[in-house]
Symmetry: C2
Subunit: 217 residues, 2 copies
DNA sequence: TCGATTACCGAATACCGATCGGGATTGACA
DNA sequence: TGTCAATCCCGATCGGTATTCGGTAATCGA
């Protein structure tokens, strides 16, 4: 054996690329820029990654998994089922698409242009859909679990996630509204809560959030 | 005045581009290819269109409007509300994403990489959402019209459309299933039809379709 | 210390969308 | 019908991209 790939070099590449992708987007970020930020030559990046696309995947996969894991924690601490649902949908359709200056849209750029032979790996999507399905299961009344708790429904939720990600990129000022999320909550829960009850629940939630963290967002 | 732009030249460009985009995708199609297919030089395309992206929009806009108009006709001829809904969702989430070898995905490629200053025009999306909202209005019981008949809900439907378009590009063999569409129909109609009733309705529909056109698809 | 393996770099490759200047063609007008 | 100006059209080129290649030097096992 001779020289060996250094993990800190790989991390430097990922850190630089993450920063640039977040600020400028995937297509507008050049490999020389990434290399400069990581303190090396563009050619050297190809020692560590097969392509520019591979760099993006290496960032997105753990990033998304971390976001979902954090979401599970947040939801696990909520008692009221309707509030769980609200939190889940708000995270998927409103918060995640906006995070890191619309970072998720970079993946939309990448996968929509990916050719079949580049071998798209549906593993990440499947993993996320399973976790989302589990969260839905824990947020709907028992009578609805068989209907909504499998991967079919969470698949629809994730397809809409894709759309909201792109929509944020096109119209950053028009995120998914709270009214839209409430509407879908009503659909999912079957018997819509009366407006008065819903408003009261929202106040309760706000009070609890203030007490726990002192911060919204 | 002197020479004037010839409509047949513009049509030749659009025809050539439509053919190539459908077969190879937007990103994989080069301007010289489009020009060759249209029998002219690459530079000449810029006489008729501001950019490669403008060519795509000029194809997609009338194409999508035509598809939606056709869908309205189809749905207008259906009596049963549930069957209207099924037809609508099937068209949006299953048929449209597959048409023309996933042509709609080219627009995903384009808009996800479009920069803000390229001036994305939300007019087409707004138009489609309005038409979809109208179709939903006519397919749900009167008690649900206020809840589902506005642009909020059709916006969610279109966001999911985006997702299914990309998903078809990544996994052409895994389109939106009929079971998924039935599930969402159940959610929308509130009181889910009993499985037996649903199966009976589907038979009725099949019989009527055979009688009217002799063709499914 | 030696030798082979390989991370790393500068320069080059291949290709893209878009542009520029000149020549060919057209249509309105006299 | 002849003229002229407007402009369609093309060849060549530009600026920029991801990726690769040949050589160099750092590293690790022996």
């Amino acid at each position: 054996m001779a020289q060996v790939k250094k993990p800190e070099v790989e991390q430097a590449i990922l850190r630089s690329a993450f920063e640039l992708f977040s600020r400028q987007g995937y297509a507008a970020t050049t490999l020389p820029q990434i290399a400069k930020g990581a303190g090396m030559s563009p050619a050297n990046i190809y020692i560590y990654f097969r392509s520019k696309l591979a760099v993006l995947y290496a960032i997105y996969d753990p990033w998304l998994r971390g976001r979902i894991a954090r979401l599970e924690e947040r939801i696990g601490a909520i008692d009221e089922p309707r509030e769980r649902l609200r939190t889940l949908l708000t995270a998927l359709w409103r918060e995640l698409p906006r995070e890191r200056n619309g970072f998720a849209n970079n993946v939309m750029q990448a996968v929509s242009t990916a050719t079949p032979e580049e071998g798209y790996n549906p593993g990440l999507l499947a993993w996320v859909e399973e976790r989302v399905a589990a969260m839905v299961r824990d947020a709907v009344p028992p009578a609805r679990r068989r209907m909504l708790g499998d991967a079919r429904f969470s698949h629809v939720l994730m397809m809409a996630f894709d759309g909201f990600v792109i929509n944020h990129h096109l119209q950053p000022g028009a995120p998914c509204s709270a009214a839209t999320i409430d509407l879908v909550c009503d659909l999912i829960l079957g018997a819509p809560a009366r407006p008065a009850a819903r408003a009261a629940a929202r106040k309760t939630r706000a009070r609890r959030a203030r007490r726990l963290t002192g911060s919204g967002q």
